[in-house]
């Protein structure tokens, strides 16, 4: 099989008495797409933050391309070539779309190449008409798209997206799906999502979180028809 790009072993995160992430063993191959699902509060974002360095895990280890990166700072993780989108939007509101993307490009490219990269991403994500607009003035879906642009402009080999489709219109979600498919030709992608509709439309393998631990890991169809998963999601749109 392909190279393992991300691995965690017994990853645990406790907040006081709450174990938000409980002994998670996780593996991801190069160019693999994996969705992390589970009800609200299942610990998906906490797992995501431990992997990206936004939180330092209480116990356990994180490996990227074979190197241990446990407890690294977010900028060190990102510098390896990892693109990260947090659950809450993280953009520069008073800067323009192209300046936002340029700043991300500049980390990995020279000034001239960055300018070219920005043009390319703006083109690919169809952001041309709003390139000179400040992010603060954009609609939610557009902002999500721009954030995806600045996450991917550095050509990362691993992309981590926490709820990229949250609050988006059906049309925006469809566009997002295309972008993600295209990303997969170059990168491994992890998507955290609790909207099952979206998962169905793109997913292959799915990891189900429940109360901080991994409940099940399988192809989306098998997961969907599993009774335990259905019970966990009871009352939700499954």
């Amino acid at each position: 099989m392909a190279e393992t790009v991300l691995e965690t072993s017994s990853l645990t995160m406790r907040f006081g008495g709450v174990t938000a992430c409980d002994n998670v063993d996780f593996k991801l191959q190069a160019r693999e797409l994996r969705c992390l699902i589970g009800p609200n509060g299942a610990g998906k974002s906490t797992f995501f933050k431990c992997v990206t360095g936004l939180l330092s895990p209480t116990e356990g280890n994180v490996y990227m391309r074979g190197d241990e990166v446990t407890g690294w700072q977010p900028h060190q993780i990102a510098s390896l070539g990892v693109g990260i989108k947090t659950q809450t939007p993280n953009v520069m509101d008073s800067l323009t779309v192209s300046e936002n993307i340029w700043l991300a490009a500049r980390r990995f490219h020279s000034v001239i190449d960055s300018n070219a990269k920005v043009a390319e991403v703006i083109d690919r994500l169809a952001l041309g008409s709003i390139a000179k607009t400040d992010l603060g003035q954009l609609a939610h879906g557009e902002r999500q798209r721009v954030e995806l642009g600045l996450v991917t402009v550095g050509d990362p080999w691993l992309v981590l997206l926490d709820e990229p489709a949250a609050g988006m219109s059906a049309k925006d979600v469809e566009r997002m799906t295309v972008i993600i498919e295209e990303l997969l030709t170059r990168s491994a992608v992890i998507i955290v999502e609790h909207d099952m509709q979206f998962i169905r439309s793109i997913a292959r393998d799915v990891t189900v979180f429940h109360q901080g631990a991994v409940l099940m890991e399988d192809h989306v169809d098998a997961v969907m028809s599993d009774q335990t998963v259905r019970n966990v999601y009871l009352g939700k749109k499954a």
Binding site: Q73, H75, V91, M92, L95, E99, L103, R107, D134, L150
Partner: protein, 343 residues
């Protein structure tokens, strides 16, 4: 953006030269010199606060450190060139160490304010307590609350007998400010400056992009201190004495007020705020009817209430409203971009 860079520098030089030439026609050069020095001090905080989001409550400490470094070194060396360089370097190193501790320690903005404030207070107390003869550096006595008088003032490099004073000193300080202004403009246009602006807007995002935010803030903080240190050295040479009041809270607070009144996020605002308020203080100082700290306080309150973005952004908006064409929405956007990146 790249194409307009040369034009921008040229505009700055032309306007700067015109001001340097015209100002002596309305006020004496001795007074103008101190306004220029305060302008440079204002710009030093305007850079780190307005473009890097670092609110330092102790910018006066770097100013004082620059002034004291100059005075002490000038006594020891008997000339002014090396002391000038030291007055830039030592505050910068001091700020780099202090900044590294604060930024790598991931202190929140409030603690950053508290620490810079406390460091300033400690320096003030310390310098004040150095009256005894045991406090000497080389040939220089620190002098405690009496300060240090009688050091070599600015001379032509290489010729300690050729003092630069009076009108010449005004031109030296004015050109120094112009050069610092050009340097700041260049810095803000560079990748470093654009990333600094990103840090001001969203630190988390910039670190998620892979930039070491703490390192960048430390460097910016040190650059601000270097500029403040230069202003301090020029101040020392202007006043021919340095005293601990340079480290006082009042001095640091005033710098913050200059920036707010002149306009944060612009380069010219803090200079205008500094020179304007210092000049007002000077004029008020010649009468005894009203207390000038009261007036300064009143002006601050009025600005915060009615012109919270400061003079320069308000003038810029007015200027664009009068001269601008094109749709209002579009204009609003470009205006905000310009302000954010070029100021």
């Amino acid at each position: 953006m790249q194409g307009s860079a040369g034009k921008d520098y040229l505009t700055i030089i032309v306007f700067g030269a015109a001001l340097i030439w015209l100002l002596p026609m309305v006020e004496n050069t001795y007074t103008l010199t101190i306004l220029i020095i305060y302008g440079m001090l204002g710009l030093s905080l305007g850079l780190i606060w307005g473009f890097g989001g670092i609110l330092c409550f102790g910018q006066g400490a770097f100013f004082g450190l620059g002034a004291y470094t100059y005075a002490i070194a000038a006594i020891n060396f008997g000339e002014s060139t090396v002391p000038m360089l030291l007055a830039v370097i030592i505050p910068a190193i001091f700020a780099a160490i202090l900044g590294a501790m604060m930024f790598y320690g991931r202190l929140t903005e409030v603690y950053l304010g508290v620490i810079t404030l406390v460091v300033t207070l400690i320096l003030f107390k310390f310098i004040n307590s150095t009256a005894g003869p045991q406090y000497v550096i080389g040939d220089a006595r620190l002098g405690g609350y009496n300060g240090i008088p009688g050091f070599q003032t600015l001379n032509v490099p290489g010729d300690p007998g050729a003092y630069l004073w009076g009108d010449s000193y005004y031109y030296v300080c004015a050109v120094a400010l112009l050069l610092v202004y050009l340097l700041v403009t260049w810095l803000l246009r560079s990748s470093f400056g654009r990333i600094a602006l990103g840090i001001r807007e969203n630190e988390t995002r910039i670190s998620l992009m892979g930039y070491d935010v703490a390192a960048r803030k430390t460097v910016l903080f040190a650059i601000g201190a270097a500029i403040a240190g230069l202003a301090g050295a020029l101040f020392a040479s202007w006043g021919e004495i340095v005293t601990p009041t340079l480290f006082s809270m009042a001095q640091s607070a005033e710098i913050i007020i200059w920036c707010i009144v002149g306009g944060l996020g612009t380069r010219f605002g803090p200079i205008l705020g500094a020179a304007g308020l210092a000049y007002m203080k000077f004029l008020l100082g010649q009468q005894s009817l009203v207390d000038n700290t009261l007036i300064t306080g009143l002006i601050l309150v009025l600005f915060v209430l009615f012109l919270p973005k400061g003079i320069v952004p308000a003038l810029a908006r007015f200027y664009r409203a009068v001269l601008g064409n094109g749709s209002p929405g579009k204009r609003k956007n470009t205006h905000r971009i310009r302000r954010a990146t070029n100021g």
